[in-house]
């Protein structure tokens, strides 16, 4: 694959970008969107841009959404590019999701779980009817309840008390980092989780769905979904002790799956894990399904389906890489195509002088061309 630089388009490019800027702004008789409006009123877009851009900053993500005219993959791309301009100060201590300030917490496996089911600001149970009144001003007071919330243990911990849930595993290793080392295989679970957390929601949703439809089925239950703020703590070397730098909103999903057991492990439940920036429940659930599917080999299950194929999933989950490779097809391939053109013309001539045998598919020339690419 080759493409050559082509000069001469500078003015056209400038004019195209000027038109883009005008299109982005739209009718100047209508007030311009502020970043606070985007964050406040299009918060799920901001969440998705942060998740797939792998950069938590609500204001920057709102700017990216604005600059990209609401194109969320483009917005994530802008955030990924921006992060390369900044130095990294530190990594945080692992956030403690059991200490989350809960806004939503539900379980599909225990009705009366300790701490209760907290619905939070959910679309669940809405009728998905367009609310025509929302076309005008909306708003209203949210009911409040000042009864104290009780402790909300994580559902896997409840199952673990009976010994029916696999343990979380060792917590001592230094995790891999895709922003510093390219993806390599076999990819350990920490790297897989990082790739999934920044992976494309649509891709992971489709793969998760495929496992439910039988392509690597794992009989999942939504053991627990929780959403809320967690504190972020770092330990700067100049201080020598840990400090809070603020809070981030995250969504966590514990997908519970049956496991028949093996020679060394008794039958128990296993889990797929999802953790994403913002209120991104669909993404967290899809991530947990795909995380569990990719554990097939580790758990001695047969690897037959796309979602269980670690290389396939991880090489295609990143929509920034995907969009780069797909969209590069727009760049000039004039020389490349010229040689294809010559090839097809030659094959045509050969075909006209000596037709291929009956039932033959591609001619020999076409096969050679494919192999040569």
């Amino acid at each position: 694959m080759a493409y050559v630089a082509v000069k001469g388009g500078e003015q056209a490019i400038d004019h195209a970008h000027a038109w883009l800027a005008e299109e982005r702004r739209g009718d100047t008789a209508i007030p311009e969107l502020s970043l606070a409006q985007i964050d406040g009123q299009l918060g799920r877009s901001v969440d998705r841009a942060m998740g797939e851009g792998s950069l938590y900053d609500r204001e920057l993500a709102a700017l990216a959404v604005k600059q990209a005219q609401g194109d969320l993959i483009e917005a994530a791309f802008l955030l990924r590019a921006y992060r390369t301009t900044l130095p990294r100060f530190a990594h945080s201590s692992p956030v403690d999701t059991s200490d989350m300030r809960i806004r939503r917490r539900i379980s599909a496996v225990f009705k009366d779980l300790p701490g209760g089911q907290v619905l939070g600001p959910t679309y669940d149970y809405t009728h998905r009817l367009l609310d025509l009144e929302l076309a005008h001003d909306s708003g209203g007071a949210t009911p409040k309840c000042h009864d104290p919330m009780t402790a909300m243990p994580r559902v896997p911990d409840i199952l673990r008390r009976e010994g029916l849930m696999e343990p979380d595993g060792d917590g001592a290793t230094e995790p891999g980092d895709l922003t510093r080392q390219p993806l390599a295989f076999p990819a350990s679970r920490d790297v897989r989780l990082q790739a999934l957390a920044r992976g494309d929601e649509g891709f992971l949703l489709a793969l998760g769905y495929s496992t439910q439809r039988g392509y690597g089925g794992t009989h999942p239950f939504a053991g627990e979904i929780r959403m809320g703020e967690v504190a972020v703590e770092i330990e700067p070397p100049e201080l020598g002790f840990a400090i809070d730098i603020g809070d981030i909103l995250v969504t966590e999903c514990q997908m519970v799956n049956q496991f028949k057991g093996s020679k060394t492990v008794p039958p128990q439940f296993t889990r797929g894990y999802g953790l994403v920036f913002g209120f991104s429940e669909r993404k967290a659930m899809a991530m947990a399904l795909v995380d569990r599917a990719m554990r097939a080999e580790e758990l001695g299950e047969e690897v037959t389906a796309p979602a269980q194929t670690v290389e396939f999933v991880l090489y295609h989950a990143d929509n920034i890489e995907a969009t780069g490779f797909v969209e590069h097809l727009k760049l000039p391939h004039y020389v490349d195509f010229q040689s294809e053109l010559e090839n097809v013309r030659r094959m045509r001539r050969e075909h006209e002088t000596s037709p291929p045998p009956a039932g033959g598919g591609l001619g020999e020339g076409a096969v050679r061309t494919l192999v040569n690419r």
Binding site: S98, G120, P236
Partner: protein, 152 residues
């Protein structure tokens, strides 16, 4: 309410005030600090990144979840106190004010007044915001009374 307590149960006084300052509004910190002594900025304020980590399954091996923006600053007062700040986001003014407040709070003479005038009111505001969200969440807690009545 127990869940809405500030995340400072096991923190030293300095960790606590740094946590409060990191979550504060720059205007509010400045207003509450009032007149400040002369100081020198030793580093920053500069924006950068913190890689946020999670744990596999919530309690297992760490993994890198994604980055967040943060701003850091270090200042020294003319009296020789050095203050540090790391705050989420890209607010350079907040980082500088937080570093200054951290320096001043280390002076045992000024500390009680600064805690009273700056840190406690800011902590109360943050607590009120958490309590408000917690109250909205609590109002959406499912009560299965209907199910019980049907069975009765």
């Amino acid at each position: 309410m127990p869940d809405a307590l500030p995340p400072d149960r096991s923190k030293t006084p300095r960790q606590r005030w740094m946590a409060v300052l990191a979550r504060a509004d720059a205007d509010a910190v400045q207003a509450r600090l009032g007149d400040v002594p002369r100081y020198t900025v030793l580093r920053g304020p500069e924006p950068g990144l913190v890689m946020v980590r999670g744990r596999t399954g919530g309690g297992g091996a760490p993994f890198n979840l994604g980055e967040m923006t943060a701003t850091r600053c270090t200042v020294r007062t003319d009296t020789g106190l050095v203050g540090h700040a790391y705050v989420a986001g890209r607010n350079e003014r907040l980082a500088e004010l937080a570093a200054l407040a951290d320096a001043l709070l280390q002076d045992p003479v000024q500390q009680p007044a600064l805690l009273r005038q700056v840190i406690e009111p800011l902590a109360e505001l943050q607590e009120a915001r958490r309590a408000e969200i917690a109250a909205k969440a609590a109002a959406t807690r499912v009560q299965f009374f209907a199910m019980r009545n049907m069975r009765a």
